[in-house]
Amino acid sequence: MLRAAVGVSRHTDASEAGRAAAEAASRSLGDHAATFALVFATGAYPQAEVLAAIAGVLPGARLSGCSGEGVIGGSATHEVEFAVAVLAVSSDSVRFEPFLVEGYHADPAGAGRTIATLCGPVDGAAPVCVVILPDGIRGNASALIDGLAAELPRSVPIVGGSAGDAMLFEKTHQYLDERVVSDAVAGFVLRGAATLHVGVSHGCTTVGLDRVVTRAQDGWVFTIDGLPAWEVFKEYLDGDPEDLTAEGIIYLCIGVDIRRMLSSDTPRYVIRTPMVLDKENGALFFPGGGIETGTRVRVTRRDGELIRGSGTECAAALRQAAPGQTPAFVLQFDCAGRGRILFGELAASELIEPLQTILGADIPWIGVHTYGEIAPVDGVPFFHNYSVALCAVYETPPTR
C-alpha cells in the first residue's frame, strides 16, 4: 500500500517550519509511519535546521530533496522567503532509494553515470523512475542527463528539477537525510509496485527566423548568426536595456531545436533561459547546457495563454494515460520564472488549480519552483527551462 501526504509551513523559523510541515504530513498519514520524505524548502532557511526538524518528526523516514525559489504544496504555490513543503510517504510495496552525488560541476556526465549505477535492476525489475535534483547554478544539466541516460534502459524515465534559490543564483542546496550540500545531485530511485506518467510543457512561442549558434562553449553562447548573442536578444527587448534583467529573462528565451534527437522532421523545441550576460563580449550563459556551435535555435517569447493551455494539455494527457486511476501523489517541477513573477498573486490559480482540476484536487501534491525542469520528450530525457514537468505516481495493483 502506498500512502502519501503533504504538509507545508511558512514559519520564518527553520525548526518550526520543518516541524510544522512534517507534522502536517504525518497527521494525514495517521498511524502509518513515513518511510520516505521528499523535502523542498526556500533558500532563506538554515537548511540543516529544517531537515533536522523534519527528521525529528519522521524518525524512520529517509529524506531527499533540494532548495527552490519557492515550493508548491497542496493547492498553493509559495514563492516567498520562507516556505517548506514535505511529502511524507508510507509504503511497504514501493521503495524510495535516495542518493546524493557530489562533484557535479566538475563532472556532470560522471555524476549521471554514478547515479545510473544505483538504478540497476533488483530481482530482475527495473526502477519505476529516477528523480534527479541537481544544483541549478553549477553544473551542466544536459551533460548530467546524457551521462545518466546512456547507462539506463530507455524505459526508465528520468525526471526532476534543478535546485534554486531566491533568484540570486548564488547557492543552491541538495539534501540526503540530514545532510545538506551544494554542487551535487540529490534524488531518489523509485522501485516497486508503482507506475509513473510524466508530461512536460513549456509556455513559449517561437518568434523570428531560424538561427544558428555560431560560437558556443561550456554553456556560454557567444554568437548567433555571427552576431553577439546579446545583440540578437536586444533586438526583441523593449527599451534598449543595458543588462539582462529578470524581465528580460522571463520574456525572451531560446528554443533549441531537438528534432534531430527525436528523429523527427517536425521542429520541436526545448527552452533554454540565459542567466548571465557577459557585457564585454555580448555573450549569454545558459546553465542548462545543450547548446553547442551549430545548434539550430529560435528566439522564443513567453506566452501566458500557452502556459495555461499547454499545462492543462499535459495534465489531460497524464489522465488519459491512466484512465480511471488516481495518482498516489504528484510531483510538479515548475520554472521559477513562470509563477509569481509572471502571474503575481494569481500564480496558484494559473499554474496549480487547472492541473488539479483535471487530475484531482485531493491528490497529495508537492512541487518546487526550479531553475530547470527534467523530463522526457517522446521518451528522450531533456533538460528544459521555462517549463513544467508533471509526474503522476500511481500505485500498481497487486497481480493475482
Binding site: A166, L168, E170, Y236, D238
Partner: protein, 617 residues
C-alpha cells in the same frame, strides 16, 4: 525570376516580417509591463481598501500594525519588517514584529534618538532615509532577532504614522534582506510604490488616531460614568437632606403648635385643678360631690401629663440638668423596666466598658428610656428580645450619621426583634399622635416625647427598621466631661403651718388670678393681684410685698422684667414664677433664676401653697 532571385526575395520578406515581429514583441513587452503595473496598483488599491474596511476604532494598536506588516510583506515581498512605537516624552520605545518578537529600546539607542529628533510623520522612502536610521533600524532588527545586514544596507521604506494627536508615533520599517535585494527580481521603488506607501501611511495613521481617540473616549466615558455616579450619590444625599429638613421643619411646626396648645391647656388645667381641689376640700362631707371632684382631678392630672409630653415634644419642657453616668442610669432604670416589659420579652443589657458621662435631666432621660422600652415591648406582642446597649460614638460614626462636628456623643440603643416598621411609616414615627397601636392603647406621644427631649438637649435620635426583623432606636446624647462638682443637697422640706405674708399675684389670665387669690387667701396670706406688670408695679409702690407670684408671659411686661424692677424697689422681695413654658434665662431677658423658683402650670392649689411656702423661706 530565377530560383535564386526568388529565394532572395523570400529572405527579404522574412527579414521584413522579422522586423515587424520585433516591433510587435517589444510592444507586447510594454503592454505587459503596463498591465503588470496596473495589476499591481489594483492589487495595492484592493489591499488598501481591505485594510481600511477591516480597520475598526476598537482595534488594538498591535493588531493594526500587524496588518500593516502583513500587507507590506505581501505587497513588496519584503522579509524584514518591524514596527516601532514611541510616545512623546518617554525615554524608551518598543519594537515588535509580526511573529510576536518584542524588544524595548532605551533612550540611548540610535533608533530612539533618531525618532525623537525627527518630528516628521510623512513617509520616508529609500532615498530619503538618513543613514543613521538605517543603522538604527538594523540594530533594532538585531534586538528582535531579524536578519541583520552589513552596513550600507538601505531601507525599502519607513512608514511613520501619528497616533493620538502625534503624542505617539508608530513607525514601520520594511526592507529586503541582502539576499532578496540582490535577486534579479528586485527593482528600485517606483513612484507608484511610493504613492501606495504614502497612502498606506496616511490610512494607518488615521486608523491609529481613531484607535487612540477611541481609547481616550472610553477613558472619558469611564470618568463620566464615575462622575454621574458621584452626582447621583450627591443628589441622593441632597434629597435625603431635603427630606430631613422638611421633616425637621414639620416637626418644628408641630412642636410650636403643640406647645401653644399645651400652654393654653395648662392655664385651663390650672383653673380646673385648683377649683376641683377646692371643690373636693369643700365637699368632704358630701360623698358624691367629693367623688366628682376627685374624678375631675384625676382627669385633669391625666390631661396634665399629656400637656407635659406635648411640651417635651415641642422642646419647651423645663429641664433640670445634672451630671449622669449613662451605664449606671440604664442599669438602675432597667431593673424597673424589667417588671414593665413582662416575662414574654427577654431583656439583654450590653453596657459600654467605659464611663459614659452626660449632662441631662434625669427625669427626662428616664422618660426617654421608658418610652423606647415600652415601644419596643409593644412591637413584640408574641415575645422576643429587647436589647438595650450603650456605647461611645466614634467620630466616623457621627460623620456617617450626619452629625459630625466638634461634639462628642454617647449612644443609647434600644432594639427589638418585633414586627418592624414599614418604610413608608418610618418617617412619621416621631410625629405626635402618630401610632400604629390599636385605639386606646397608645397616645402617640411616646416617641414624639423622646424626639423632643433628645433634640432639646442637643442630641439626635435615629430609627432603623426592617419589617419582620425588628426595630432599633439609637439616641446620640451629647457627652460631657467627668463631673467634678457634687450635686447640691436637696433643700429641706418646708414646715407646714398657718401662712402669713403679703403675696403680689401678677397674672393676665383672670380665672387663674382669681383661683390663686382664693387659694392663698384661704391659706392665710394677704393677697394683692394685678392683671399685668404695670398694675403690679403700681400696687407694690404703696405696699411692702413679701412674695411676687407672677406669670412669666404677660402682655407688655414679662414676669421676669417685673421681678427685676420690683427687686430694685424692694431688695428683700421673694419671687415665684408661674409658667406654662420652661424657664429660660435667655428667653426671659433676665439673669438665670433658680429653677426652684418656678411653679409649672398647671398646678393644684396644694402645689401652689407648697411652692409659695418654699419660696418664702
Amino acid at each position: 525570376m530565377s530560383g535564386d532571385d526568388e529565394l532572395a526575395r523570400l529572405r527579404e520578406e522574412n527579414r521584413a516580417l522579422d522586423e515587424q515581429l520585433k516591433v510587435l514583441v517589444r510592444t507586447e513587452q510594454r503592454l505587459f509591463r503596463s498591465r503588470k503595473e496596473l495589476d499591481e496598483e489594483l492589487s495595492n488599491t484592493r489591499a488598501l481598501a481591505e485594510f481600511a474596511l477591516s480597520a475598526s476604532p476598537s482595534d488594538a494598536e498591535d493588531d493594526v500594525v500587524a496588518r500593516v506588516i502583513r500587507l507590506l510583506r505581501a505587497s513588496f515581498h519584503v522579509d524584514c519588517v518591524f514596527a516601532f512605537a514611541h510616545s512623546r516624552g518617554q525615554e524608551r520605545g518598543e519594537g515588535w514584529d509580526d511573529a510576536g518578537r518584542r524588544a524595548v529600546l532605551h533612550s540611548d539607542a540610535p533608533l530612539v534618538s533618531w525618532l525623537r529628533a525627527s518630528e516628521r510623520t510623512e513617509l520616508l522612502s529609500l532615498g530619503a532615509v538618513e543613514h543613521v536610521a538605517v543603522t538604527a533600524a538594523l540594530a533594532m532588527a538585531g534586538e528582535l532577532g531579524l536578519p541583520q545586514e552589513p552596513a550600507g544596507s538601505s531601507l525599502l521604506a519607513v512608514l511613520r504614522m501619528a497616533s493620538g494627536d502625534a503624542e505617539r508615533v508608530v513607525s514601520v520599517f520594511a526592507w529586503k534582506s541582502a539576499q532578496l535585494r540582490r535577486s534579479v527580481m528586485t527593482k528600485p521603488l517606483a513612484p507608484r510604490h511610493l504613492a501606495f506607501l504614502s497612502a498606506l501611511a496616511n490610512q494607518v495613521g488615521r486608523t491609529l488616531e481613531a484607535v487612540a481617540l477611541t481609547g481616550a473616549l472610553a477613558s472619558r466615558g469611564s470618568e463620566l460614568t464615575l462622575a454621574n455616579l458621584r452626582l447621583s450619590e450627591s443628589l441622593g444625599s441632597l434629597t435625603e437632606a431635603q427630606e430631613k429638613l422638611v421633616q425637621a421643619q414639620k416637626m418644628e411646626a408641630i412642636g410650636r403648635l403643640a406647645g401653644g396648645v399645651a400652654h393654653d391647656f395648662n392655664n385651663l388645667l390650672t383653673v380646673i385643678l385648683s377649683h376641683a381641689e377646692l371643690l373636693r376640700d369643700d365637699a368632704l362631707e358630701v360623698g358624691s360631690a367629693a367623688e366628682d371632684a376627685t374624678a375631675i382631678l384625676d382627669a385633669a392630672a391625666r390631661a396634665t401629663s399629656i400637656t407635659r409630653q406635648l411640651l417635651s415634644f415641642s422642646r419647651q419642657q423645663s429641664q433640670r440638668l445634672e451630671e449622669l453616668e449613662l451605664n449606671r442610669f440604664v442599669s438602675d432604670t432597667t431593673r424597673v423596666l424589667g417588671r414593665l416589659i413582662g416575662e414574654h420579652v427577654h431583656l439583654e443589657l450590653t453596657l459600654a466598658p467605659e464611663r459614659l458621662q452626660l449632662r441631662f435631666d434625669g427625669g427626662q432621660l428616664e422618660q426617654v428610656l421608658m418610652n423606647l422600652t415600652l415601644n419596643a415591648r409593644d412591637a413584640m406582642p408574641g415575645g422576643g428580645t429587647l436589647s438595650v446597649r450603650t456605647r461611645a460614638v466614634s467620630a466616623d460614626e457621627a460623620e456617617r450619621a450626619g452629625v459630625g462636628g466638634d461634639e462628642d456623643y454617647i449612644a443609647l440603643e434600644v432594639e427589638d426583634s418585633g414586627v418592624g416598621i414599614p418604610d413608608e411609616l418610618l418617617t412619621h414615627v416621631f410625629e405626635p399622635f402618630f401610632t400604629t397601636k390599636d385605639v386606646g392603647r397608645g397616645t402617640g406621644l411616646g416617641l414624639a416625647t423622646v424626639y423632643g427631649i433628645v433634640e432639646q438637649s442637643g442630641g439626635h435620635v435615629f430609627v432603623e427598621s426592617e419589617v419582620g426583623q425588628g426595630t432599633t432606636f439609637t439616641v446620640f446624647f451629647l457627652a460631657s466631661g467627668t463631673p467634678t462638682v457634687a450635686p447640691p443637697p436637696s433643700a429641706p422640706a418646708p414646715r407646714e403651718g398657718r401662712a402669713h405674708g403679703t403675696v403680689l399675684v401678677a397674672e393676665d389670665e383672670p380665672a387663674i388670678r382669681k383661683i390663686v387669690r382664693r387659694a392663698l387667701t384661704a391659706a392665710g396670706y394677704d393677697v394683692l393681684d394685678a392683671a399685668d406688670g404695670e398694675q403690679a408695679l403700681a400696687l407694690a409702690a404703696t405696699t411692702t410685698v413679701d412674695l411676687l407670684l407672677t406669670d412669666m408671659v404677660m402682655p407688655r411686661m414679662t414676669g421676669a422684667v417685673l421681678a427685676e424692677r420690683l427687686k430694685r424697689q424692694q431688695p428683700g422681695l421673694k419671687v415665684l414664677f408661674m409658667s406654662g413654658y420652661p424657664l429660660r434665662g435667655a428667653a426671659s431677658g433676665t439673669a438665670a433664676w433658680d429653677a426652684r423658683a418656678v411653679l409649672a402650670k398647671p398646678f393644684s392649689a396644694t402645689a401652689l401653697l407648697a411652692a409659695v411656702r418654699a419660696a418664702l423661706v
